[in-house]
Assembly symmetry: C2
Homo-oligomer: 536 residues x 2
Amino acid sequence: MSGRRRSFWAWGYEDKLPDDEERQELADRIEGMLGFPERPIMEYPTLDDIELPDPRIEVPDELAAFATTDRRTRASHTYGKGYRDLVRGFHGDFSAAPDIVATPRNEADVEAVIEWATEQTVAVVPFGGGTSVVAGIQCDGDGYAGVISLDMGEMDAVLEVDEHSRSARIQAGATGPEIQEQLADHDLQLRHYPQSYEFSTFGGWVATRAGGHFATRYTHIDDFIESVRAVTPAGALETRRLPASGAGPDPNRFLLGSEGAFGVITDGWTRVQPRPPHRARATMHFDDYWDAVEATKDIVQARLYPANCRLLDANEAMLNELAFDGSHLLVLGFESTDHPVGDDLDRAMEIARKHGGSCPDGPTVEDRRTGGTDGDRGDSAEGSWRDSFFEAPYMFNALVSMGVLVDTFETAVTWEQFPDLHEALQENVVGAMQDECGAGFLSCRFTHVYGDGPAPYYTLLAPADVGEELDQWRTIKQAASDTLMEHGATITHHHAVGRVHREHYHEEAPDAYLDALRSMKRTLDPDEIMNPGALL
Amino acid sequence: MSGRRRSFWAWGYEDKLPDDEERQELADRIEGMLGFPERPIMEYPTLDDIELPDPRIEVPDELAAFATTDRRTRASHTYGKGYRDLVRGFHGDFSAAPDIVATPRNEADVEAVIEWATEQTVAVVPFGGGTSVVAGIQCDGDGYAGVISLDMGEMDAVLEVDEHSRSARIQAGATGPEIQEQLADHDLQLRHYPQSYEFSTFGGWVATRAGGHFATRYTHIDDFIESVRAVTPAGALETRRLPASGAGPDPNRFLLGSEGAFGVITDGWTRVQPRPPHRARATMHFDDYWDAVEATKDIVQARLYPANCRLLDANEAMLNELAFDGSHLLVLGFESTDHPVGDDLDRAMEIARKHGGSCPDGPTVEDRRTGGTDGDRGDSAEGSWRDSFFEAPYMFNALVSMGVLVDTFETAVTWEQFPDLHEALQENVVGAMQDECGAGFLSCRFTHVYGDGPAPYYTLLAPADVGEELDQWRTIKQAASDTLMEHGATITHHHAVGRVHREHYHEEAPDAYLDALRSMKRTLDPDEIMNPGALL
């Protein structure tokens, strides 16, 4: 897609890593805004600095055409992009590197990898965009002869488009922009925008049940999927392409969330749509957080289906430089391919006003068929929010290099249980940061909302002790995850389980169900070569 | 709920079985409308007439408080309510009767049944409303010491209501009206209206992935469920109650569609909502069927989310006495708990008009908060449609007693594939009826519609040879099911698999997936006592 080189340790393209000047500005901002002690600005690592073990196995002849043990390639397939990953990469610890990276060109190549790995007892780790934040792609290979990373990036085509039914068949390795570009020929879009959109892949989205950028309705990849094709050690598996079915437990749902533990997804049919020209948006300001929560609940329970319904608490609004006066912001957006949505926005704003919301910047209503903007004064929050949403991971790179502990965790819980959960998290997570780091900052936004509850997403920042970051992180993360479990929330709404959430996932899921999943795995992956340690 | 007695062989209450006069009218109508040869009007069976084998096993002491071998009870737990069931029941063949019927009062009773059945190698058949049309509850018990029907009807309570999150915890045996009545205290409704609503149960809906009466959006029980509790031979299993989660393959989806093969569902949390006062509806008439299909597709792809979007072909319109001029009808309805929906209806009608639709009766827009009807002339199609929808199964009883072969089958398929499928069904199914019965009538309506395809529902009528009905039905059903498989459609959109669809389900589902389901079953039900023969 691009000639630009991705960083071997950090999020994104090398040439977009914040430079020293940008980092100094960020340091000043963090210190000023959050009151953290002065942060160091450390050198980024180079490929020569890092510790990378020699491969335990050699590329066999039958895979030589598309597999390598190249140093940079192995390094950049070692970790995902969570805080723990960035810290280890930044400090040059690539001890968890895969031995071989294969980049299959087609399904026969995938089958060749699985066949060889079965014979040699090598662990196979499916790799999409490498953007996991839960160690979904990091496998130490204990008990195996080695680890092969199966990078699906060459299988990146939109294979078929059914314009009549608004569906497309997409290969697993296609990234967000690659899909966008290929569908543009048909004037169609997938409109699935996880924060990792630039690099993450269709197959990765299916394997991890990715959540998109929209707040309601069509945002989870689960809801887009018509069929999935996967290669398992027990053979290939393709579900029938259907708009819906009631025949037995939904086979697509067994692959959605399977995290490479049963096999590797090679392609799938998904629903697509035209670009929606009708849009309307507004940002409501609230003095009281719980009023804003009630307003959000009432809007979603009114079934207005906003595309955006993102409640930012005051900390989150400040962090995103959208408000500095302690206001909580509810960013509302509506869109339609077919009809104006101004009335929907009006009704949502009316509900918000009932709960004390105000809209100092006024709403914006657009009809982009004609290119014109029909509306009151522009509202910048939605647009600048979107920009900072996709740029945020680059900031995380810089923060890691400045001794700032930065992480996010997310969940979903009923409206009834949310207040207790939220207060317990404030107490336990901020408490853990203070204990570990002497200070800590926690902000919350709702990334998705449902009639029965929100999906709150928390960002945490603390001044880390360089060299101690991972221990400090572990304690804070444990406090967060334990609190989620105690308050009836899920360990993850859209970040997946991987290895980081496995312990708490096993607490959340019923034992008999986990046993049933293990028996499925034994059937599909009898030698347990598929992503061992993830999920199960 | 009601002191009225349900028929031991037919759909519904005994006192609602059509009498001789009603049957004569029906016969005249069928003969006149469809040109069938004169139909016999045969006596309904009485309990004394039927052949019911003696129970192979006795009620053990530990189950005596809630289990019976009573003749009427066993007879009425023998079959579901499909054509094949009604024919066998009508002719007095109850050879497939369960030996014992247990009616557990609580989960301990359920566990006692499973424990005893495991010891005695007795097959356990979970029973909700007994309304299966796919032989989901009919088990001959070959290879078992006997069969126990586990009727969940006594466990019929709404256990908890969370008004804030709009959710309720409901026991498996609660029927549609029982749920409605209990939720009314909270001004809430489930709003899940399968045709079997009057008798079918919450647990049955979950086990069979029931589809409700609405055409889009919240209509499948799958989309209502927050959590499920089930008792399996390997122990009880309860999923965490959540608005959403991305942690591994969705555990609820393993129980949704499990058809009693893994265990018996005892209760679950489900989303509920207030009664929607805002409504709007209209019936569009089309001269050309394919224009009507295009209009329906465009309305659903516009994401207007009609509650009703039911396209009746001319045969279906005639059968339901809504139009006799060869018009195809698109019955449109919108509803909201929060805001007027007249604009949505207007837009849908505008799309329909573009494709040649007209609306001779005009739209109706209601705001039932005030009790008033704001609108143009009344449109009777929607209301009379609903009445005949729920009364249709009583007509089926009568038709069976008059030698009319009557059945329905349903599917889902992409818009792209629908025309070929529809024409092939006309040819193959009408052809099979003509070959077998000398005449045949096939009508089609869309029960549900999706952006990527419709869920067409076919009703077939043919003059059967009394005594030969089951052979004739088998040939016709085989032609229908084979045609679905050949044209990329699903064997069932909401009627489930049971035993009738098992062969074609195994053709539809990938082999490796079926193997994986079998391994799950071995884990949860190691002695294979749970509903043997259903699904797997």
